[in-house]
């Protein structure tokens, strides 16, 4: 016993020392809100969470069979990330979809009007006129506003002029959503930001079933497909 204990001590003491050193280097605290300042030295780009990866058909089936709530698929091609979002809240015409990682997207009749937790979030939009044309599947010229936060935490307002046009009628069959839809194209330009072209597939009842929407320079184009309404 004695020798074992001594050996243990001999190996344990340096271990305790190493542990103490490690705790000093990484910092520790009983305060749940404590943050270690050295994190600020490591550039965020090196620590960014890896892409969420591809959503498999099995994952879609699983999610759809587990809930009756509306489910949407979201893809951010620029980041190589995808997510399945379930509707968690409604506020008037606005529906908020979220995943367990606490990332959320708010949509109005399927048009994305805000994101949270994706980084480089779209904070809000003035979408009324654009949405009206798209839901009515009519051509026209409207103004459209997107708001973002800058790295300085100041709200940046980008005002677009959008030309909207209907295109072909197609059959949509994604997830549990099956419908006839009209494809709508919105081409937008602004003196304050890059131009973009959005696509929407709009059902006969004026719901957007799928879209490719520009969400600013940080997120780029985002693909949305409604999998269950």
């Amino acid at each position: 016993m004695g020798t074992i204990l001594a050996m243990n001590l001999r190996t344990t003491l340096p271990r305790i020392g190493l542990l103490a050193l490690a705790s000093v280097l990484t910092g520790c605290s009983n305060d749940p809100y404590f943050e270690f300042p050295v994190q600020s030295i490591v550039p965020t780009s090196l620590r960014q969470q890896e892409a969420n990866g591809e959503i498999t058909p099995q994952a879609i089936v699983q999610t759809l069979s587990a809930t009756d709530l509306p489910v949407a698929f979201l893809g951010v091609p620029d980041r190589g990330s995808q997510a399945l979002l379930i509707r968690i809240e409604q506020n008037g015409p606005y529906e908020t979809f979220a995943n367990p990682d606490r990332q959320s997207v708010t949509m109005r009749h399927g048009m994305i009007t805000g994101t949270r937790g994706l980084s480089g979030d779209l904070m809000s939009t003035e979408e009324e006129a654009l949405l009206d044309l798209i839901r009515a599947r009519r051509a026209g010229q409207v103004s459209y506003i997107q708001r973002y936060l800058t790295p300085e935490d100041v709200t940046e307002v980008v005002t677009y002029r959008c030309g909207v046009e209907p295109d072909a009628t197609v059959d949509v069959s994604i997830g549990l959503v099956q419908d006839r839809a009209t494809e709508m194209v919105a081409a937008c330009e602004s003196p304050d930001g890059p131009p973009f072209v959005d696509y929407y597939k709009v059902s006969g009842s004026g719901e957007i079933l799928a879209s490719r929407q520009w969400l600013g320079e940080n997120l780029g184009y985002v693909a949305m497909q409604m999998l269950q309404r």
């Binding site: 404590f34 994190q39 600020s40 696509y199």
Partner: protein, 715 residues
Amino acid sequence: MAAVSSHRAKRVGALATAGAAFLLTSSAQSETIPSYNTYGSPGLIDMPTAEMAPDATIGLTYGRIGDSNRAAFSFQITPWLSGTFRYAGIENFDDPSSVDGVYYDRSFDVRVQLLRETRLRPAVAIGLQDFVGTGLYGGEYIVATKALAPGLRVTGGLGWGRLGSYNSFTTIGERSEVILGEGGVPTYDRWFRGDVGAFGGISWSPNDKLTFELEYSSDAYTLESARGGFEHKSPYSFGAQYRFDNDAQLGLYYAYGDTLGLQLTFPTNPKTSGIPGGIEVAGVPVKRRASGSASDLGWTADLEATERSIEQRMTTNLSREKLELVNVELRPRSATVWLRNPTYGAPAQAIGRTARVMTRTLPDSVEEFIIVPTENGIPMSAVTMKRSDLEALENDAAVEMLARTSITDAYGRGTPEDLVTFPRFNWVVAPYFDYSGFDPDMPLRIDVGARVAASYEIRRNVVLSGELRKRVIGNLDEISRESESLLPRVRTDYRLYADEGDPFIRYLTLDLYGRPAPELYSRVSVGYLERMYAGVSGEVLWKPADSRLAFGAELNYVRRRAYDGLFGLEENVTVDPVSGIEREIPDVNGHVSGYYAFGNGFHGQVDVGRYLAGDYGATFTLTREFANGWSVGAFATFTDVTEEEFGEGSFDKGIMLTIPLSAGTSRPSRTLSRQTIRSLQRDGGARLDVSSRLYDQVRTWHEPDVSNTWGRFWR
């Protein structure tokens, strides 16, 4: 979605062409960071240009020409005004104050752009180089820069002083050679006087990575030639500069026909660096009440039970938002939440997340939400909003909600009790670093070690806190330079504290916070207040919740701490190691302070009073603050101590840089790293360094600061 976008490709072709043209014009207009020179300012190789960096750019530069090393910190204070602080070390320089042949010098520059560049007109700037102090690099200039073709820029200017020392063509007035005071004073008797020389150059960037530069310098390097190894063979220098992806730039030059030069600059900008909006998770969405449910007051029948269950739900929900519920009080139509925010640097984000949690947890009849943020148990303001506004404006511009929010004084709105039980104990073990700069024997000394900090909240507004530091590696204890002081050695004995204090108690105080009257806040601190002084410090602050203006008063009774930084105290008498003269540090010092937020991020502070050494005077501070927590500022202290008594530098001055932890992590944090860079720490104009001063704690929750960060209300 890929299918959708590809079969659309043709149709979009025309639009894309239009878009590309649009992109080209917009990138031509977007602000690029100009090339820096070896002095750390926008310029050619050694000469300045009329260019300005994008607003708020911070540049860190290391430049070298021959034996001259220059480290510089520059800041674009406004779009038309920039400032540079520089520390230079000239090797092989024959001067009595040289250490191992290296002569060290600090200098400040300012530059004002008088005219912006247009299609036809060049940009024109006027500048003062090394305009404070001994003026080793002293020179003034007026300079014009114009882009002649894409990537091709031409600069021409007139220089005085050092910048008029080579091949001058005329002389305007007489340039003084006298050093004003003990150095450290603006050299106004020299500006734009004496010989005038012409300088100029061309820079050409074939692409956005490479720049080639050629300059004709009007600097004869007279001093470096006379006392050092510099040989001025030609006024021409040329070289190339490479720009990295992160906008860092590296320039290599062949200078003055005989030597090599180098410039390495790291620019950053609080306005544009970092991930916009941060990467933290979403807050919970607003829960809209069903129509008609607001009139249901059934729950009020068992108010206490409802309150208890709401306390629980709200505590859980707020802790998911990394916020802490202090207490909640329910009325049929109104609810008050007392809040602690350990997380969010932007006060509006803490308020916004709390308000959204309230929409999800409070009975439907509660229409008025009052959020009372607390610091150290003291209510800082009352933020009042209507639940129906939150429901209606969740997806609108954030300013719409701001317009319907009122921020008022929370005096008398203290919570009757806290949900958490006291005492509360918090501790942290973490590394620290400390530094001391500008000692000619060793321009930068650094200590790295471990710190243990703890706080013990006895009651909600009575906190015992302290910090112990133990050096692991470093050389701060090796400071050997002793200089005579004609004042009590209130700060110049720093060397002894650094040498003997290991481990040392950085501070150990009992702080008592209070609200003595409406719009008034108070603090009393007793104990080891800072590294060199113990004592009692009392402070009162007047700050209306909607005001940009505040006034404060602080009175301190101090005892000098023992050099070993433990519990010992010494008499308030110091002995000068050079002259042997004993001088007494007065027991009492204090200040009356005025604070004002000018808007546009500029913030001013004036402190008038008695300093540690017993001198009377005032400190003027001007800071540019950014909503995300960054700030850059400068201060100067003028007291009744004469320049001779003060010694080198003539008066106390310095620059301050605050970087929020969130700038590195992109996650919300209230932790700020504050650095004060003083060119010299003498005994005149020295203030007690109390860490728990009220102003920053209080104003965080008042209307101007909350409005500045309101963009994050819905984040």
